[in-house]
Every structure is written in C-alpha cells, then in structure tokens.
C-alpha cells in the first residue's frame, strides 16, 4: 500500500536525520583539526616537511609578544562575556516585568541580525577620533578643528574590542535567556520571591538566576569561544601591537614565507588551547561564585542596592543601544556622503553616487549571499527538524553529551580547524565553490537553527498528535499536517536566525570558496581594509539588510498567512 510505504519512508528518513546531523558537525571539525596537527609538528610533505619535530613550537615560542597576544585574547574574551552577561542579568532582574523592558526587547532583537563585521565597522566609524561622536561635539564644544590623536578604538588593552563584543553578544545572550526563562519557572519564582519581600533585582539574583544559569551555560561558553577566537571583529576594533592571537594566526597563515605554515599551524592549535583555557577560567569562576554566594543566597537580605544597580543596568543598556543605533546612523550617513571632512557632523550635499557605484557589483554579491544563505538554511532546517522529529518518533531525547556536539562548531575556534579543512578539501578533490561554501555555512548555521527551534518543538503539546493519530493520521501526516503548521512561527524564526548566521560568515566563505564566492560579508571586510569608507558603509548596510528582511518575513508572513488563526500569531 502506497500510504504505508510512504509512512515507512518518512520514518526511515527521520531515523537517519540525527546521525546525518552529527556527522555533518563532527567530521569537518575533527578533520580540520587533524589537518593542522600534522604541520604543527613539522609534517607537511608539500613543503618538504617529512619529519616530526617540535621546531614549529619553538619558532612560535620565539615570536615576540606571544604571551601578550594570549593574555589579550583571554582577557578580552572573559571580560566581554562577563560584561554582556552581567548586563543581561541586571537587565532581566531590574526590568523583567516592566514596560521599558518590552521596548528594550523590541529594540534588541533586530540587533541580533546585525552581522559582527557590520557592527564592528559601525562602532569603529562612530568612536574613532574623527568619528561621528567627536564630530557632533566639534568644534563648538571641544575646540577641535582637526581630529584629536588618541588611541581608541584599537587601544592596547582591548577596551574597544571588549565594548564591541559586549554590544554584539548582549542581544544574543538576552535572547537565549528569554527563551530559557519559561523552562525554569522564572516568572513564578520571581513573583514568589517578591511576595516574600525581595526587591526585584535581588529576587531575580537569588531566586531565578541560580536556575536560569545552567540553561544558558552552553550559549555563554559559545560566546566565550567566539570572543576568544574572533578574527573580523578583532581586526576592526582590536589592538594591533600586538593583536589578539587569532588575528596573528591568520597573519601567519597568510605569510608569504611558506615555512611559516608550520608555525602557524602550531599557533592554530595554541588558539584552541587558549579557547579551552578561557572556558576553564570561566568554569573556575563559576565554582568560585557559587562558593562565595551560597551564604548570601539564604542570608535573608532582601535588597542589595537594587535601585542603584537597577538604574545602572538601565543606563548601560540604553548606552549600548545608543551605541549600536548611532553606529547604524553613521553607516547610513557615510553611504550618502561626498567629501565629508572633520569636523562636519552632517555630510552635505548628500549623494546617492556611492550606492549607484556599488549597484552593479553589489547586486551580484547580494544574490550569492542570498543563495548560500537560503541553501545552507534549508539543509540545516531539514536536519534539525528531522532530528527533533526523530526524538518524538523514537522517544529518545538527546543526551547532554550529544547536545555538546551541537555546539562543537561554536566552541572550537574556526581559525583552528578551517585551515586544516581547506587542506582536507584539496585532498578529497572537492572543488572550492558553491558546494563547499554551502556545506561550510551549514556547519555554523545548524547549531543556531537547532537551538532556536528545539525548545518550541519539544514543548509542543503532544496531545495534538495524539488527537490526530486517533483520527487515523499516519506519523508522516501528523508531522506534515499538524506539527509543521502549528510550529509555523518558530520554524520561520529559526530559519531567519539561520539565514542571519550564514550572511555573517567570513572565514568559511573566504577559505572554502577559494575567494571565488563573494558574499556581502567578504566584500565588506575586504573593503574595510581598504580606503573607501563610503563603499564599506554601503556593503555593511547591505550586509545587515538581508538578515533584517529575513526577520521581518519571519514575523510578517505568519501575520499575513495566518490572519484568520489568532492562536498561531506572534505575540
């Protein structure tokens, strides 16, 4: 019976989905790492490296400033994550049930769509001595008719890099926390604590956070890993003498002196070690906080400077929002500027010449970016839905260790495994281009899609399916006609998140596509290194427009398609 066979086919496909997803995540990361281990110990036959030795490590150790690079990577990663986390916690604690919070949430969510590079470019434009912030105050307030000479962004302590990372990671952590709140009965616990006399922030810190934290621990680790190994943000906002380790790794990998490849591979492995070390420090910090705070939790004290800290959190949040908002404004102004000398705060006359100039080539990049984004999102969505559906069909909830695999591409620094992956790609004779790039993007898209979808998928009331099954619907039909329609909104949101992640990818596009594939991000980053700020701004804006369109579709489509189904509408 055809019906029966189709149903079996569906169940089979669903059964294999998790294995396929796991393979997709593990194989490239493991293979890529293997690809740098050889050269790190002197083994790379193409460069006459036929003996295993420690020479690359000795060369690496001799690099001036290595220790500073490592500590810079560690400090910026930990400080920015801590900053973003503290802001998120204070914000949730002080404002969770207020109107202001809804406004902030509405403003922050779209910022999640802003690619890292675009945000960094915008913040750089804003805060540089000749940037918009100083122009707005000059010369009437500052007396400057030429830009002052101070080292920011790019200060040797990494403060500007930390600021940029905080601004970019805070929306991510906030969204992850918001998704986790219902799971830990946050609202009830918060209300309970307040009824027991605890001021809102203290109630949150003592009654909600200890249960929330374990749920957002992996996203936090992902943020640490990202911050400790970021290349594009650190190139734009980080110090240069010395830069962070990840930037140095890329420089050494690109050094024309090919013998540096050995040392660069050792450095790539060191980067992995640095990321692990950063995670370890954080983990120790967690233990320490738990130890120090366990007494305070039950001390009965009901107000720990709530008003002050809450006010501070609100102020800082608006500062971050203002920073990102002004950065975007600055980007927009630059795209419309002709010759725009310091200290003029407004470019005049405005011109659309920059857009016209970019139109021809940009169009091409827009299409390539969109195609790659859609393709990798489609693959990732299929795998994620398949894996989640298999949990339901086979009643096997993913174990914690499996969950960790999902985070693999987010925890292992791309710098450490992508170069090896390129070697692997060449060895397997996979032509650089569309296929490799789309697969490479999927590697980073899949975890985000899965994370954003899994909660809604698992929490969907199982009784819908039971009702349908008693009405003779096969598992496939239940899936197609019940589960998917009911999950329209989360599915579209997950797809929009995945698409945004794909648009923001820099290193995988560059390395796996052999540069043949140009996306808005590769163009924007390559232009950011060049002299034309106007064109850079055009690309940075386009780079952020695509994900924005994705998110508006995710919110707008259900409103349109399901206008007669109020129960499925976005809140």
């Amino acid at each position: 019976m055809g019906h029966f066979r189709r149903s079996r086919l569906f169940l089979m496909a669903v059964r294999f989905a998790p294995w396929l997803a796991m393979a997709l995540l593990i194989v490239p990361v493991a293979g890529g790492l293997a690809g740098v281990i050889g050269p790190a110990f002197g083994w790379l036959p193409a460069l006459d490296g036929h003996t295993v030795s420690l020479t690359p490590w000795q060369a690496l150790w001799r690099q001036p400033g290595l220790v500073d690079m490592i500590s810079l990577s560690l400090v910026t990663a930990l400080a920015s994550t801590l900053g973003a986390l503290i802001l998120v916690i204070l914000l949730l604690g002080a404002l969770l049930e207020t109107r202001a919070f809804r406004a902030i949430q509405r403003l922050l969510s779209p910022l999640l769509a802003v690619p890292h590079a675009a945000a960094a470019i915008g913040i750089g434009f804003l805060l540089t001595p000749s940037g918009l912030a100083n122009r707005a105050m000059s010369p009437w307030l500052t007396g400057w008719s030429y830009p002052p000479d101070y080292l920011f962004p790019g200060d040797p302590w990494g403060a500007s890099l930390i600021l940029g990372l905080v601004a970019k990671e805070m929306p991510f952590l906030l969204l992850m926390s918001l998704a986790a709140l219902p799971q830990c009965q946050a609202q009830s616990h918060h209300r309970l604590a307040r009824m027991l006399g605890y001021a809102p922030l203290t109630a949150f810190l003592k009654g909600v956070l200890p249960n929330l934290y374990p749920l957002i621990r992996l996203p936090i680790y992902a943020v640490i890993a990202f911050a400790s190994a970021t290349v594009d943000v650190a190139m734009i906002l980080g110090p240069s003498n010395p830069p962070t380790l990840a930037v140095s790794v890329i420089r050494w990998l690109n050094d024309p002196d090919l013998d540096r490849r050995f040392m660069a591979s050792a450095a790539a492995l060191t980067q992995l070690g640095v990321t692990v070390l950063a995670l370890l420090f954080w983990w120790l910090g967690e233990r320490l906080v738990v130890k120090l705070m366990s007494q305070t939790l039950t001390s009965g004290r009901r107000n720990h400077g709530d008003r002050l800290i809450g006010g501070l959190a609100t102020g800082l949040t608006w500062f971050i929002l203002g920073l990102l908002g002004m950065s975007l404004l600055g980007l927009m102004l630059w795209t419309l500027a002709g010759y725009w000398p310091f200290p003029e705060a407004w470019p005049w006359p405005l011109t659309i010449g920059n857009w016209m100039e970019a139109a021809d080539t940009a169009w091409h990049s827009v299409i390539q970016t969109a195609v790659i984004g859609l393709a990798s999102t489609a693959i990732a969505m299929t795998l994620a839905i398949g894996s989640l559906e298999s949990e339901i069909q086979y009643h096997r909830r993913m174990r914690r260790r499996t969950q960790l695999i999902l985070y693999l591409p987010l925890l292992v620094p791309p710098v450490a495994f992508l170069f090896g992956l390129v070697q692997l790609q060449a060895q397997l004779h996979i032509a650089p281009g569309w296929f490799a790039v789309i697969l490479g993007h999927t590697l980073f898209v899949l975890p985000y899609v899965f994370l954003s979808l899994s909660e809604s998928y698992r929490r969907l009331d199982s009784r819908w399916a039971q009702v349908a099954a008693t009405l003779q619907a096969s598992p496939g039909e239940v899936f197609r006609r019940i589960r998917l329609p009911l999950l329209t909104l989360p599915l579209l949101t997950a797809a929009a998140v995945g698409f945004a992640v794909s648009v923001g990818q820099y290193l995988p596009t560059l390395l796996l596509g052999a540069g043949r594939i140009t996306t808005l991000t590769t163009e924007a980053v390559s232009l950011a290194g060049g002299g034309d700020r106007r064109l850079t701004a055009v690309y940075a804006l386009l780079q952020l427009t695509l994900p924005a369109i994705g998110f508006s579709l995710a919110i707008g489509l259900p409103k349109l398609l399901l206008r007669n189904r109020r129960g499925l509408q976005p809140a």
Binding site: L192, P210, L297
Partner: protein, 218 residues
C-alpha cells in the same frame, strides 16, 4: 478614614477591576485579623485577577480603581515586595537550587546571627513535622511535605496578611484535608487577615468564614 486602621485589618476599599471597560470584579470589604474570606467562582471570572491586583502583579491590560489598606499603609502604590503579603500558590514552588533549609532561610527575614537563623529553621521544620530535613533536596520530598515547607517559608517572612491562590487544588483528597487544617490553624494562630481564592466548596466550608461569590460576566 479607612487609612487610620492600624489594627491588622485587610481593607479592600471600593475595588473595581475592568478589562477594557467591561467590569470584572468589584469588591468592598474589611477582613479582620484571623478571618478567612473566601472568594469563589468558576474559572475565568476574575478571581486570580483580584489576587494579582492585591499582590501587585496586575497585567497592564486591566484597569483597576480602589485602594487596599493594611496596617495603616495603602498598598496599591507600593511595589509587590513592600506589601508584606504572604501569598501561597497552587504549586509549592520550592527553589530547586536550595535545600529545604535554604528555602526556609530564603523566607526568613535577615538580621539575626547565622546560628540563630539555623535554630529558627530547625524549630520551623520541627513545627511542620519535618525535623532534620534541613539539608534535604526539595525534589526528594513528597507533595504534602513540599506544601508544608512552602507554607512555613511564607510564614517565616512574617507577612501582615495572607493570600491563598487555590492552595489545595493540586493535592489529593487525604492530603488536602490535612493541609487545610494546618494552613487555617496557622492563620488563626498568627491572627492574619486572609483572602482565599478557590473553586472548591469544601475549601470555603473548611475556612468557615464569609464567602464572596463572583458571577461570570453577562
């Protein structure tokens, strides 16, 4: 002036809650110390809305007029944490990150030495028939035990009045009886004015006080 009530009276003064101009709940009454006023009605009628208004969690979608007076303070302009109302929820809602003793300590007001606090908690546990349970994980307790800890946690925070939100609805029959008598006897003992919201006639009967019936909006 109702504001002069310095006795422990919970005064619901001309309360009128509406949802977009549709009247939902209107109540005007004084609850004496130790008295349990039962508010009854089918679900969706606004019982919980009334409770949320008094406790300070009213959804902004509702509009409310009227005042709540307790020990000479007008509560509606105070944030929830300053109202000194003890709220007992349907679920015990013990904090999973704290031990049983920790949960009680959470309710206990600060000020005393650590030693004194420990002693207070031990006494409280003995009081509800759970001596030596201080270090237990709340997840290992039975439903009835959890409810008792939750009650004790509220009492340790020294509330000036109690709000009960269908406190026994999730317990099975035998436990329900037991909890009712425990809760009510403690309320009488502490002389707390109490507002109980329920849809179980037996609750109202056991409380033995006035019953205020909300009708579904017509």
């Amino acid at each position: 002036m109702p504001g002069n009530d310095s006795d422990n009276i919970l005064h619901l003064d001309a309360i009128d809650i509406r949802l977009q101009e549709t009247p939902l709940v209107a109540i005007d009454t004084r609850i004496e110390p130790g008295e349990i006023l039962t508010v009854m009605g089918p679900s969706g009628v606004g019982k919980s809305t009334l409770l949320a208004f008094i406790a300070g969690f009213l959804d902004p979608a509702f509009s409310a007029r009227g005042n709540v007076w307790l020990q000479g303070r007008e509560l509606t302009r105070l944030p929830a944490e300053q109202r000194r109302l003890g709220l007992l929820f349907q679920d015990p809602l013990l904090f999973p990150h704290l031990s049983v003793g920790g949960n009680l300590a959470f309710g206990l007001r600060d000020g005393n030495s650590r030693r004194e606090r420990h002693a207070q908690i031990d006494r409280a546990l003995a009081d509800i028939g759970l001596p030596g349970y201080a270090d237990r994980d709340p997840a290992t307790l039975s439903g009835g035990q959890r409810s008792r800890v939750a009650l004790m946690r509220v009492l340790l925070s020294r509330p000036h009045a109690m709000l009960l939100d269908e406190p026994f609805s999730k317990l099975d029959m035998t436990l329900r009886e037991e909890m009712r008598s425990l809760v009510f006897s403690r309320i009488h003992q502490e002389n707390l004015p109490t507002l109980m919201v329920t849809h179980d006639e037996a609750d109202a009967e056991a409380a033995g006080g006035r019953v205020f019936r909300l009708l579904p909006p017509t």
